[in-house]
Each structure stands twice: as C-alpha cells, then as structure tokens.
C-alpha cells in the first residue's frame, strides 16, 4: 500500500518555528483542557443553579428553567458556536460588540468557545441535577421542613449533598463530553488538539501518525478523568446511597 510511514515526524521542526510537531500537539491539548475546564466551571455553576430552580414549587421558575434547557438542547453545538462567534458581537450594544470584535486570536476564538461550551453544557448539567434531586425519596424534603429548615437550607443541607453523590457518574460523562466537544471550536479558529492534528496532517501528509497521536492523547485524558472521578466517588461515598445508572441513556 502506498503510504509512507514516518513516526519520526513528531520530532521534526514545525514550519512556524515554534519547535517540533510534537510541540504543536502539546499546545493543542493545553488549549483543549483550558477551554474545557473554564467552560466546565460555567456549566457547573449555571447548571446546578438552574437544575435546582427547576425543582422548586414555583411554577413559572420551573417553566423558565425548562425553556432554558430546551433551547440549548435542540440546536446543534456547531450552530450555537457560530451564533456566539459571528452573531453575538453584532447583537450586543456597540461598545461591547466592538470590544469583542477587536479581540485578537487566539482569544477571539477562545472566549466565544468557552461561553458556548459553558452554556451548552449547563443545560445538560441542569437536567442531571434536576433528575438527581427528583430521584431522592419525597420524604427527604418533608423531613427537612419538619425540622424547621427553610427551603434554601433544606436544599443546602439535605437535598443537594445527596443529589450530587447520585449524579457523579453522569456528571463525569458530561465533563468528558466537554473535552470532546471543544474540538468543534476548531471551526471558529481555536487551535485545540484536533485542529493541531489536522494542521500537522496538512503540512506533513503524515495523516495516520498525526491522527493516531491525537487519538491516543484523547484516550489518555479520558482514562485520567475516569480514574480521578472514581477516586472522588470513593471519597464522598456514603454507605447505602446508590448512584444513578442502569437504565439506558442517550448522549455523546
């Protein structure tokens, strides 16, 4: 077969003078992780808040929360990415819009990517948090109230601590999804890992070496995340409290 294998390509100098091609991939995974982590912070904060609000007795708050989730779930991530990158600067008041448009790469791609991933994932986190709280026996809320706790206190001390333990596995999946989804930002110019692998392929024609390296790096990151989360699960485990799982779930 006519393919010239050259695994030494990683140690050859890259055309932009920044070092060897391997360095490109390292820089790529750094941007991937940075984007993913910042977006995850946003996703957790927003998602936990909205998920919790969707379980309160206030009907219109629940409906707003539902609408929020539906909007982010029913539009493809790539389309949302374009909206944040191309459309948002035009819709903002002149000052903010211009400021956004004047950002230089890589930040011009970075911030829209972080915001896009953050909001997109926050809707999914909200779903998990809501499901986790609603999976608790109804008596828990009543027991809290019977003690005299206010609603926020009941959430803080009774419901949320249990709900989070239950949803640790699906939350881990969401975190891995954010890492994978960061690759979509290559379409708006973010030089994360997949973008770097593609660039390396375009410059060197060593297609399979470049993509194999990227694949291995993603797998390693996945494994590290899985092990880290298992460690976290063990640390916070409460005997007798079983976590979610078992039923079939869709997703990416």
């Amino acid at each position: 077969m006519n393919y010239n294998w050259n695994w030494g390509i990683f140690w050859q100098p890259a055309p932009d003078g920044s070092g060897v091609y391997f360095g490109w991939l390292v820089s790529g995974i750094e941007w991937t992780l940075l984007t993913a982590l910042l977006a995850w912070v946003i996703a957790l904060a927003l998602g936990a808040a909205i998920g919790t609000l969707r379980t309160t007795p206030a009907k219109w708050v629940v409906r707003l929360g539902d609408a929020y989730v539906e909007i982010f779930r029913n539009v493809p991530l790539l389309v949302q990415m374009f909206l944040w990158y191309f459309v948002l600067p035009e819709l903002l008041p002149k000052g903010l819009g211009d400021a956004m448009k004047q950002m230089t790469p890589p930040w011009a791609s970075f911030w829209p990517a972080v915001l896009c991933l953050g909001f997109y994932t926050s809707a999914r986190v909200a779903e998990q948090v809501r499901a986790g709280i609603q999976a608790l026996p109804r008596g828990q809320r009543m027991a809290g109230t019977a003690l005299g706790l206010t609603q926020p206190q009941a959430y803080r001390y009774v419901l949320l601590p249990q709900a989070f333990r239950i949803i640790l596995p699906p939350l881990t999946s969401e975190f891995m999804n954010i890492i994978k989804n960061s690759s979509v930002a290559l379409t708006i110019g973010l030089v994360e890992l997949t973008a770097r692998a593609r660039a390396m392929q375009e410059f060197t024609f060593q297609v399979f070496e470049a993509f194999t390296a990227a694949t291995i790096i993603y797998i390693l990151v996945t494994l590290i995340v899985v092990f880290a989360m298992r460690w976290v699960e063990k640390k916070v485990a409460v005997p007798g409290l079983i976590s979610a799982g078992g039923a079939p779930m869709a997703g990416h």
Binding site: M1, N2, Y3, E70, I71, R73, N74, V75, P76, L77, L78, V79, Q80, F82, L83, F86, V87, E90, L91, M176, K180, N181, S182, S183, V184, L186, T187, T194, A197, R198, Q201, V207, F208, F211, A214, T215, Y218, I219, T222, G246, A247, P248, M249, A250, G251, H252
Partner: protein, 230 residues
C-alpha cells in the same frame, strides 16, 4: 438592534437551503440511523456474549468511539476509508471515496457504538428475576430472550434510541469540517456570499430547534404510551 437586517435573504434562499441542504441532512441521518442500529445490534450482542473473543473487541470498539471527539472521527474515516477500500478490493492506490460516502460510513460506525450501549443497557435493565422465571418454566435461552427479555428491553430502549437519533440529526452538522453542503453548510455558503451571517445562522438555529423540539416532544409522548407498568 435589528435595523439593517435583510430577512428577505431567508425567503430567497429557502428553496436552496431545504432542497439541497436539508435533504442531505435528512438522508445522512436516515442512512446513519439504519446502519448504526444494525451494527449497534451486532455490537450489543457481542458485548453481552460470554465469549471473550467477541466481547473484548466489541467493548474496545465502543469505548474507543466514546473517548474520541466526533470531529476527529470524521477526519479519521475521511482519510482511512480510501485505504480500507483499496485493501478490500486489492487495489494499489487508495480508492477515491467521496466526502459524502465517507461521512455516511463515519456516522454509521460512530453512532453504532452509542446505539450498542443503549441496547446493552436496555437488555440488562430487565430484572434478573424475569430470566429466572423463564428458566423455571423450562424455557431455554433463546425462548427466554425472545419471549421475555427482548420485548421488555425494546420497550425500555425505544425512546432512548429515538432520542439518540435526534442527537445524530444535530451531529450531522459537523460535516461542515469537510466542507460538505448540508443544511448548515448551505446556509453558510449563502451567508458568506451575501454577507448575511446573522440572518442565516439565526434561521438555521430556529429550524433545527423546531424540528428537534417537535421530535423530542413526540418521543416523550411515545414513551408514555408504551411504558410497561411494573
């Protein structure tokens, strides 16, 4: 805020968007769903089998597909399929496979891993006692699967399989990275040609929203109708 926008461009380009773009998106979704469920079923059965030489490769494949971004998989198959095609037909040069064919294969094989997991979880969610009750009556393995386990598993997994298909429908937009003209690609072309990014992208978002939302509403409805009362 909305002055200077030309929403007319939507009306003018709608025929192109839907006839070229949306048909591509829907065709790709349908083909990937069919192939994905077919291969997913095979994978699920391999994973559930007690033969190590079946369930280990299947598990490895599923875990690989789930660890790697879809964008990367799209690139992989785009470059790999010509070589595999050459190897299959014994040619010396990589076979010329178009972007369309490669994306069909990509999505089929990628989604198969997700469908397989849904089916496996569905089968395993049938309580073990049901299997025992079947055996206690004297039914053999195949009878127990066909009469007792699979009917229940299917009712459990159908809504989730359909939800996964809706996700697949949205994911097809990623063929953009191969410059293929799906619904989003068509809109991007018009947007760049006419300088109407905002109108076109907002329109695309709205259309995807309406379709996905209606479909998931339908799935929710279906779920209530076929749920098994335990």
């Amino acid at each position: 805020m909305f002055s200077g926008f030309d929403f007319d461009v939507i009306a003018r380009s709608a025929p192109y968007l839907f006839k070229e773009g949306m048909t591509f998106t829907l065709t790709l979704t349908a083909m990937a769903m069919t192939g994905g469920i077919f291969f997913g079923t095979l994978l699920a059965m391999m994973r559930l089998s007690s033969f190590k030489w079946l369930n280990v490769p299947a598990a490895a494949y599923v875990n690989l597909m789930r660890s790697v971004p879809l964008v990367l998989v799209i690139f992989w198959f785009y470059f790999l399929v010509p070589y595999i095609g050459a190897w299959i037909i014994g040619a010396k040069e990589p076979v010329r496979v178009g972007a369309f064919m490669s994306s069909v294969i990509t999505f089929m094989m990628f989604e198969a891993a997700y469908y397989a997991e849904i089916m496996r979880a569905g089968i395993q969610s049938v309580p073990r006692g049901q299997v025992w009750a079947g055996y206690a009556l004297g039914l053999n393995y195949w009878q127990t699967m066909a009469q007792i386990v699979l009917p229940q598993a299917f009712r459990n997994m159908l809504p989730v399989l359909l939800t996964q298909t809706i996700i697949l429908f949205q994911d097809t937009s990623l063929v953009y990275v191969l410059s293929i003209t799906d619904f989003l690609g068509a809109a991007a072309k018009i947007a760049q040609r006419d300088g109407r990014l905002i109108e076109m992208y907002l329109f695309v978002a709205v259309v995807y929203f309406i379709i996905s939302f209606s479909l998931s509403y339908g799935v929710k409805h279906l779920q209530q109708r076929i749920a098994i009362i335990r």
